[in-house]
Symmetry: C2
Amino acid sequence: MMTTRYKLTMAYDGHLFHGFQIQPNERTVQGVIEEALKKMTKGKRVVVHGSGRTDAGVHAKGQVIHFDYPGKEIPAKNMMLALNALMPIDTVFFDSEIVDSDFHVQYSTKGKWYRYIVDQHRFTDPFNRFYTGHYPYPLDIALMKKAAKDLIGEHDFTSFAASGGQIVDKVRTIYYVNITSDPDNKKIIFDFIGNGFLYNMVRILVGTLLEIGNKKRPVDDIPRVLAAKDRQEVRTTAPASGLYLQHVFYEEVPKKYRLDLKKD
Amino acid sequence: MMTTRYKLTMAYDGHLFHGFQIQPNERTVQGVIEEALKKMTKGKRVVVHGSGRTDAGVHAKGQVIHFDYPGKEIPAKNMMLALNALMPIDTVFFDSEIVDSDFHVQYSTKGKWYRYIVDQHRFTDPFNRFYTGHYPYPLDIALMKKAAKDLIGEHDFTSFAASGGQIVDKVRTIYYVNITSDPDNKKIIFDFIGNGFLYNMVRILVGTLLEIGNKKRPVDDIPRVLAAKDRQEVRTTAPASGLYLQHVFYEEVPKKYRLDLKKD
């Protein structure tokens, strides 16, 4: 049967989702997209592929999906408008294109950009409780920036991955880490760009950098933790609420973010 | 019995509250504060007074409350810390003082400041669906600013108040209206400062200004609507999600906001 492959880019507020991946009896992003598509196909299931999973409570500003739509081709923009009309309002599609059938949203990625937002108010900010990780303790940004440099490049990230995953190869390359402070809003923003990230890796990296910024862990500890290849080295995982899948790269990650090349 | 009167200032995310005022079987702001106080008094009810009600879904950045705490006086700061520890995380107290027993949070007000935030994205922004009013249609800011000048001063606001309230005197003074655009975030921000506002008045004023900005209503229509003293003149009420009780004044409203004086 004729199908057309659509690639769409979307944002979602993760706080009422049990993650991206479809699960029985849980509200998931993949689930609500497939529900919407079912309304368009009169009940036929269209399988939705994501660039990667996001966990319960994790947000996306630039998640990418693809699916093969059966039957008559619909212009890419109309597909986006139709889905936005059918989807719940904690999701929104903002880009849409028709792609070749050899494009795969997961296997064609060249890199991913995750952002983590920390709120430093003494008490949890009511308006940001679902959208930041709350960390009210003192942080030395310069220490965190210095330590983050040790993450750049190709490393075995076993120490920074939640155990229990099926992935055996835990070598990934981090191209770019940036830490910025927004003192007016008492926020600290962590950006990570790499060729891929392991399960919970960004949240564990943030947890480690916060320990360093709070002087609970030495600034030069990251090379040692990486070399240990032992998940027990790091016990803090920053909460899901602060994490955003910001962007997925399908072309080479721009040179300005390729600090890993400069390091060598 | 000895009591001490506390005045506290608080923020809350209104989207999971059925408004400020206590109601049986509903989650309300007053209700959760009284619950927290009950834990401190071993079950004795302490009645909480607010500067005014906010409706279901309406937020506060500067709501003010008072109550008379029975028994031993607690320093104001400690009272705030104790309540923040006992309250749910969609509320936060950020200022606290002990006041004379002739201070009343509702009757001592000199003015109130409400803010309304409109989101102009074509589709509802998932991250702002509870925190803005969505209005995706074109708006001429200059027209709205011009029309808003006709609201400044003392007027009978019958045409701009939801019917059904018990309040007979519908004369209020608006000291200040400001409309600012934040094009980067596709937001429009309305600020209203006045000596008091009727039920739904800010949301109806915003609804009217949006009609003017969208050229559905003439720019010089406000004097006519005010003179009509008829609620049927205005049918649009902007959604609760965009409304914030920003500040309550207990000293005279600062001169920079007293445009009503300049008008005469």
